[in-house]
Subunit: 205 residues, 2 copies
Amino acid sequence: MRTVVPFDASDPKTRLAPVLDGDERRAFARIMLGAVLDSLRSLGREPAVIATESIDCASPVIVDDRPLDVAVNDVLETADGPIAVVMADLALATPDALDRLSAPDDDVVLVPGRGGGTNAIVARHPDFRVDYHDGSIRDHRRIAKEVVGDDGTIAEVDSFRLATDVDEPADLAEVLLHGEGASATWLRAKGFELSVTGGRASVIR
Amino acid sequence: MRTVVPFDASDPKTRLAPVLDGDERRAFARIMLGAVLDSLRSLGREPAVIATESIDCASPVIVDDRPLDVAVNDVLETADGPIAVVMADLALATPDALDRLSAPDDDVVLVPGRGGGTNAIVARHPDFRVDYHDGSIRDHRRIAKEVVGDDGTIAEVDSFRLATDVDEPADLAEVLLHGEGASATWLRAKGFELSVTGGRASVIR
C-alpha cells in the first residue's frame, strides 16, 4: 500500500517552543520523522515524504509547499489504489503498532490522535478526502460516512501508541515513558528527564 | 477471570474540581464506574467493586477503606487464579476495548494510561503486586519482570480507549470526542461542549 508521511520542514512543532528552540525543534522533528519512516520500511512499506521544502532523507521526498490538506488530497485524487497517510510525529509508533493499520480491510480506516486529531488514515475509497483542522477526527468520520455510503465500511484503530502525536511539552513525557527509539534517546541527550510528582508525568530539563 | 474495579467513593476525581463541584464529581465518577461495570458484564465477566465505602451498585461491592495498593494487593494475595484490575474512570472503554485484556495469555498484562499510569492489569503470576503511585507503569514493568523471571512473559495492550482515564478537565474532551455512552451523555446534559480552537480540543461549560 502506498504510504505518505506529510512533514513540515520549515517551522515544525511550534507548540514545543517553550522547551525547545527553533533549531532543536527542527532536529527533533527530523528524528521523529526518521523513526516513523524506519518503522514503515521495516514492515516492507516504501513510504514517501510530502515535505514543504526539500529535505535530505532516506525515503523519496515529494516537495509540496501548499497547505497540508491540498497536498494530501492531491495524492488521494491521483491515486490508483489504497493510500495510507501517517503523521510524522508519532514518536511511540513501533512497527507492531503501525502494522495494525493494515489489518482492517475497510474502505476508510481512521486512527484518532489525542485531543481530536487524526494521526493516520487508510483510504481505499477513491472519493475520500482529508480536512486536517482542529478536531479533525469528527470531520474525517463524517467525510468517510458520506463517501462510503450504506454499503461501505469504516474502521478505527484503537492504539495509544498511534494516538500519541508529539505536539506539546507534556507529550515528551510519553516519549520518555514508552519510547525506546531515537526520539527518546535524543530527548535524554538534550537533558530531558521525567518528573512524576503530582498526577501525570511531565518533563524537566 | 476474576475482575476487580477499585473505586474511591468518598472524594473522587479531585483534579476535576475546576469544572465540577463535589456532588457532580461523585455523580460523574459513579456514572463512569457504572459504564465500566456494564461493559465488563457484557463480556460475561462478573466484576466486583473495591470501594472505600459502601455504595449502591449492580455488582458486588467489597468495602475496604485502606489505601488502594493495600486493598488491591490483598485481593492478589488471596487469589486462587488470574485477577484483572480495571480502573473505574475509563470512560472510553467499550466492550471491544476491554475484551483486548483477555487476548494475551502472558503472566502479567499491563495497560498503560496517559501520563505514566497503569489503567488495567491482568495478573496470572501469584507474586505480582501493585504499586499505584505517580508514574506507576514503570514500576509495574519492573515488578512484573522481577516476578515472572526469565521463563515468564509480560505483555502490554496498546489501546487509546483504555489509556484514557478521566482525571483532568482536558480528558473530558476525549469523552465528548469518542464516548458514545452514559459518561458523554451526562457531560452534555451538564452543559459541557467541545471547544476545538487552537490545537487540541478542550471543553467549555
